[in-house]
Amino acid sequence: MIETVLAITCIGFGCSFALAIAAKFFAVKEDPKIGEVNDLLPGANCGACGYAGCMDYAKAVVSDDAELNLCAPGGSDVTASLCEYLGKTAEAAEKQVAIVLCMGTDDVAKRRFDYNGIADCRSAHLVGGGDKACTYGCLGYSSCATVCPTNAIEMINGVAKVHPELCIACGKCISACPRNLIKLVPEKNTVHILCSSKDKGPVVRKVCTSGCIGCTMCVRLTKEEESISMDGFLAKIDYTKEVQNKAIVEKCPPKCIIDTSNN
């Protein structure tokens, strides 16, 4: 019985002795910070942060300053300890949400040719400038919906619509849209102008009945708050300010201003 214990412990010592030499001989200069950050992490090596294990995430946090809130099992307290250790403030700014600035659904916006090709916005935009009569509007081939990691975007009647509660503001949909219709806006802003067409009124009315015709009604009504300004023939909301005067939603002739606070 005693020989077994002795034999195994000898093998154990032999191996650990060999490893000690190897560790010394092949030592790799490592940034000490990585080790410390690694200790803050739960060490589950689950890969939810998208890196191959905790050590890898620690390295990414220290060297190429990856996001601090990616550790799913750790949750907010790991994020907090990481921030306090690295002295950075995780952007705890208010929650951002993506929104698609177009409401030219198939019943209001016209198409101008019968498109035969890849059902993807980026490709469709390159063939004849896109088959939607309005050259600014949403083509509806759901490139943004396919690229969204949390499936927060749904295609309704040919136009993309973002569900704010699912959106994690990762910004993938912004680069996917060839017409740059998607913006990141603070979640608390509920009034939006869903149009991005810079054409003159008559041109817009010919292609889409719910497009902004540049009548500047909303600008006049919110004059004191200066929350809406004209960019050529398109009314634009300044998202740093809250729009108080909700009357503009009814007053807007083409009805392209919406207020999401009620529904």
Binding site: C15, A27, V28
Partner: protein
């Protein structure tokens, strides 16, 4: 000499460790996403298995058999394999940091890789001599590498396929692995060993 060649053929083709004996499936599925990581992993496994076969045979014959404590075989083997893997990790971190990062979690996983332990135990059961054990270790790791590289090629093709939602990812990979092992059954009986 003939016996060595037969061992190699049997370990690589006939009873391939992954496709016929179904050992070492988790790195087989885990690392076969990209060819570069697959090659890196195969290299690491070849190194570990060959060394492990030699060391485990020595320990078995000169320590365990001598003291008649064959039953300690599993613990001793795992101890040796684990330290060999740690050695590989240190060496890789020093000379091939990019590969070390790419392999990530799968490198320490080799310790629990049943192919390595399976090979060590099998070579003892088949009563191979020292040279035969090392050749068997090397050949079985070659078999593992062959299956892994073949499967990575297939994996990159089926990653571009669009199976129904339920079968996306590992499910379709497992079906492909099943078809691949069905193909390798063609070699059965190639070698009467």
């Amino acid at each position: 000499m003939i016996k060595l060649i037969l061992i190699v053929i049997s370990a690589v083709l006939v009873n391939n460790f992954v496709l016929s004996r179904f050992l070492g499936i988790c790195p087989f599925l885990g690392v076969s996403k990209k060819t570069s990581t697959a090659l890196g992993m195969s290299g690491a496994v070849v190194f570990v298995m060959t060394l492990a076969s030699a060391v485990t045979w020595l320990v078995q014959t000169y320590v365990l058999d001598k003291l008649g404590i064959g039953y300690m075989q599993t613990i001793a083997f795992i101890l040796i394999i684990a330290s060999l893997v740690q050695l590989v990790e240190i060496v890789l971190k020093k000379f091939l940091p990019s590969l070390h990062a790419a392999l990530g979690i799968f490198l320490p996983l080799i310790t629990t890789n049943c192919a390595v332990l399976g090979m060590a135990v099998l070579s003892i059961q088949n009563k191979y001599t020292f040279v035969e054990t090392v050749v068997f270790g090397f050949a079985s790791s070659l078999g593992f590498a062959l299956a892994l590289v073949l499967f990575t090629g297939l994996r990159e093709k089926i990653d571009r396929s669009n199976p129904p939602k339920a079968f996306k990812g590992v499910a379709i990979a497992l079906i492909t692995a099943a078809l691949l092992s069905m193909a390798f059954m063609g070699f059965s009986g190639l070698v009467k060993i």
